[in-house]
Symmetry: D2
Subunit: 278 residues, 4 copies
């Protein structure tokens, strides 16, 4: 029997868990996992339920719509792999990690293609029989370049866009086209060291930990809702380059862990925060 | 036989380890631990050596001065407990942790006294038979208040001043009087969330880790050389207050670990970075 | 309005969450936090619910008994501080940490007294105006010694007994008298290095991490259900004694974190495992 | 100028650092990093020195032999990539991680080939244009199987053999042929859960952390000198299979970190412990 997932995001009110579990029970669906959270700041209720059973999705959603507060977001997911497109520049480690996990079905995702503003990772991508699209940014305007990339993305129609060390800033225009659908890995524990050269910034400041942050991309650079962060200790013997080398492991784990959460429908966004049922 | 520690901080040049170990050998001193580091940015050499043996300190330092580059800082330490003064406001956890470690000789330090701008921690301090000095900041100017505190500190003549959750900003004047002698615990992983209410700032930004930083106090608030940092994971269920509660453990470990490093002569300062031989 | 906690531990069946939340709703109680888990191995359902509202406890429990599977364990907790007794030997760090947290109400616990087979920690305990009971084990049999301790414990009638580095093994007889009520801190990441001198064992094996484990005490030494574990890295430069020193921080955090979970009614026991709603 | 590394492992005596640095100075070699350690248990001295400069290796080793205690092990390394052979069974994650790092020169190693008792990872290996050798263990004796593998290994003549999730036990005979040259990844924090099915063992014991250990292979299964260990937290919601999934990240980082240390000549073995200069 297929596993299904119900996501509910609505204004809080008394009795929501009871009401939703009642609807599932009425449909003879068997809840195998249930997680809920009320964000007191926004008075918003979030619930993620995994259940088995033969599903009449339309009728279930209709019933939930009737009993939930007006404006409730109700989503039924069928655990099909999510379709993703990767954007990269020249660094291979996050891409390589995702390609291996993808190849061995450790991600609930299907990679539609990889787009880059350099040609250097073509070989790696093609080793895995995946399409690689090289879109040089040379001799064209920033806008033209992004247009070409946008056209490629739209041609593939992905569920999510993953910036796996893509070293160019997306325009607000492009970001707006894919709300809550673009994730990025930034090589610092944000909000520290946003922007360029975070390892050099970290070295200059003399910090004793470095880290990485995966987040949704919004119009404000490096300020979108954070999904996952992890750090590792460093010491005085680390140059900025040593930090960058040491950071590789953290970056790839933070990105692939976030991608996993995303593809398993475990992330809600509430304002500038994420609610993650892991 | 007493254990001694030699600290050397000088311009780098070829053969320094050989030269310094030669001087110790000539004095029949037995090196039990040796650590050295060259900061390539500043071309500066740092070395910390533990050794046993009957010591003619004056003669050793004279010899080292003769063979080391001009301007070398040479320090011989005898592992006597360092004398410290604590400044606190109202939070008991960092203070309590230090008092327990002090009581059971886990710190190489002697607490000369505790100064506070509130009277609420008097009872805790006096439980350990240590002097508590209450200096109210009410009805007097910031300057007058600091003058009173300064006078108390100067009367005790400590090696180091420890801000164990002291919630007032010291003036540049006071800081200048104790260069590289004041350490502070800040309840965030600096440089993120400097200044007031770091847990609220962390909550507002929606971070997935929180942390604490111990650093030397300089004229620039929360910008001095960092000694130690540690973080713990948080999630969407943590309110700002929950983060503050969870942060207690990290704050006290970061501060007492830093204090231990300081009292064991394990920290060098190089510009705005620390070199720590742990 | 007081916060209440409902704990349910029963055989799993479909619709439990719906049924329990229905009963609470009927009583006009407002759920502020709900966590549930089904242990598939044992087909057992666990739920912890925090709620506000004027409570008719007897009637609520009666209703839940009627709707839940036969043999369900139903517990209503009122968030009163738990009464605890500490047993210690000579090491001060775990005891000191708990005393400080107790003094500043960071634990939902009231310490009734501290019992030790040595007199050396009396001074520390009495600094906090708490009863210290010295029961020497010298010149009497192991059985006689335990009888004296048992009598003291029974006189105080605690909810929980905390072995805060108590270096003697309790007899199965005593353990049986307090099922699921005694917790211990062991200074290794169990099941590695059970029994005596875990740091020496860790040194001898050459491990690169050391840790601590808090667990419920059962008849089998160091084999009861584990509550919390944490580790820290070590390296070749750590002697067994260095490991013991470094382990202090971990031990005290593991014990006090576990004690907090216990006193906040967050722990269920399922066979030899714990279910922890934190 | 090429970077060179000197490794010294000898009985401890006074003045060794001075003597060795003197020999390097005499050859006008410039020390860029120096690390030393004395194992007090065995009274053994270990030193690793990185230096630049035009090198007359034979003469330097001769001089060091003359001044160091009898039986000193002196090794000059030229930072050429180490030649390695990988043995695998069916799990792709550790292998995949190493292949990516190898492809992008993040390991100081050259993979000569991959040997497996199953054919399922052939495709992955051949994507990277590396030789894959399938040696089925079916229908032949354990001894015959190992003979075939041994012959393959000997044909490639590697510096190190890496068991990257090779699920068969090597005989003492084979292990003896490659002393201190075989490393293995075990999916538990040894010494806990040695042998088969460590995640199931961890689940059964109800631990709150799981981990991985990389170690040298000796005749005693899972008892060789440990190189690196790391753990991650788990909770009651993790089945044995969930632990295995979560453990993937730790296993691959522990193995590739250890391989990096090995290939950069950073590991000494002292009895059953490793000394690691990282």
């Amino acid at each position: 029997m297929p596993k299904n997932i119900l996501l509910v995001d609505c204004n809080d009110s008394r009795g929501l868990v009871h009401a939703i579990t009642g609807a599932l029970l009425k449909h003879s669906l068997n809840i195998t996992m249930n997680q809920e959270f009320v964000d007191k700041e926004s008075s918003r209720f979030f619930m993620r339920t995994e259940f088995d059973g033969p599903l009449d999705g339309v009728s279930l959603v209709n019933e939930l719509t009737a009993i939930l507060p007006l404006g409730a977001l109700i989503k039924l997911c069928d655990q099909q792999p999510k379709k993703i497109v990767l954007l990269v520049t020249r660094e291979p480690h996050c891409l390589g990690d995702i390609l291996i996990r993808h190849e061995f079905k450790q991600l609930q995702a299907t990679i539609l293609g990889v787009i880059s503003n350099h040609d250097s990772l073509r070989n790696l991508v093609e080793r895995f029989d995946l399409p690689f699209h090289f879109v040089s940014h040379e001799k064209i305007s920033r806008q033209e370049h992004e247009q070409k990339i946008l056209k490629l993305i739209q041609g593939m129609n992905p569920d999510f866009i993953v910036l796996a060390k893509y070293m160019r800033i997306l325009s607000p225009h492009l970001v707006d086209l894919f709300p809550s659908k673009i994730i990025n890995i930034h090589h610092s524990f944000l909000p520290a060291f946003a922007g360029a050269k975070p390892y050099q910034q970290a070295f200059d400041r003399g910090v004793k930990v470095i880290g990485a942050t995966a987040h949704f991309v919004t119009e404000q650079l490096d300020e979108g809702p954070i999904i996952f962060q992890r750090v590792i200790p460093v010491n005085h013997s680390h140059s900025a380059q040593d930090m960058a080398n040491a950071g590789i492991d953290v970056e790839q784990i933070v990105l692939s862990s976030s991608l996993k959460l995303l593809c398993e429908d475990r992330i809600f966004i509430s304002g500038n925060r994420t609610i993650i049922f892991d």
